[in-house]
Symmetry: C2
Subunit: 223 residues, 2 copies
């Protein structure tokens, strides 16, 4: 998979993990204390809207900040390269020596890297600050992907309450559809993230079940 | 700040961002369609429980997977170092040449790095796979921090509905307390993440307000 595709799939996973879990748990919780589905649906829609915006817009703004933060630190590296090149050169040498390169050789390599200021700054960002360059124009795409995935994930546990007539049957159908979806989603997530499939699938499904159980019993308790 | 403290603050930010936003938006949405606070409180508590578990447990399991994934790839690098060292050595040379180091010098440096297999494997992880070593024992602490921060963040918009007698006054007090909290939180978040304070604070507050407005009007629309 290309790096671009990996990032896309990661965003889908981020959005769908929470989308399948939280609206599922919330509607399950409310189904324990309400007989009719109307308010469950209203709550579910409110929650999905809030979650989409919090994760999507929040993610977008965080992505933007990350790009700005990277740029600020990069400019500082360029500034140091211009103004205190001897100190920056020493830092390159130190990093190389920490990798196991001998001092004399480190000095030579540092000199060669420092011939190109862009590469030099990039070296410092990656190896001194341990920061990877964030993709500048991805923030919007990433936010949109997360929001849509949350929406899709959230509608799965919600729609049974729309088609069923009472909260008990809505709850049962919602549990079945969501559990199947969690298992399918857990399977693909494990494949993509390179985890053992069985273990990964169980983890995903269990998180959803525990969240729903907690919401269900807490709702009953305070009701 | 130490690296450990930075990660802790990051987790607090992750949990509190969503905690202040989603329960605020959900309860605001429901206050538009319900007169009494009882069901708003039940929904809010269900949502906070679900969110804590989804983010906390989900985060814990994701952190565990990340450690396992890193270990798997690290073992693969060690395997390649043992079995096809000439190919791995060539990869080190290529990485160095891409940094602007001349071929002859790259060969010398690669040979020196390859003397210590641990350093060699670490070099490949960092510069070939661009993966930073995840902190092995942090997953549980990180999950706990996120969950507690979500809980604290979520209780702020919820408690006004507990102390006020009807949903309208609950909504007004919730808006005031949450907005103040979002501004304070946005201020600290901006300071910690090195953003311009005014811009950063506005971003955080705006996300909460937009999410709440969307939840409010959608709840009204479907009600």
């Amino acid at each position: 998979m290309s790096k671009h595709k990996i990032l896309l799939v990661k965003d889908i996973i981020i959005g769908m993990s929470d989308g399948l879990t939280v609206p599922f748990a919330l509607t399950a919780g409310l189904s324990g204390v309400l007989d009719t589905n109307h308010l469950i649906i209203v709550s579910g829609i409110s929650e999905i809207a809030a979650g989409c915006i919090s994760m999507g817009l929040g993610g977008f703004l965080a992505g933007q900040s990350e790009v700005e933060h990277y740029e600020t630190l990069l400019q500082r590296e360029y500034y140091e390269i211009e103004n205190v090149p001897h100190l920056e050169l020493k830092e390159v040498e130190d990093i190389l020596m920490a990798m196991g390169v001998e001092e004399a050789l480190s000095k030579q390599v540092a000199l060669q890297i420092s011939k190109d200021k862009d590469r030099w700054a990039e070296f410092m960002m990656k190896l001194e600050l341990e920061m990877e360059k964030p993709a500048v124009n991805r923030a919007a795409v990433s936010a949109g992907t997360i929001a849509v995935s949350y929406l899709v994930g959230g509608l799965i546990p919600l729609f049974p309450y729309v088609i069923m007539h009472d909260s008990k049957s809505g709850f049962i159908v919602s549990c079945i559809t969501t559990l199947i979806s969690l298992v399918i989603f857990g399977y693909f997530k494990s494949k993509v993230t390179g985890q053992p499939v069985l273990k990964g699938t169980i983890k995903v499904a269990l998180t959803g079940v525990i969240a729903a159980a907690a919401a269900y019993f807490l709702a009953k308790a305070v009701s």
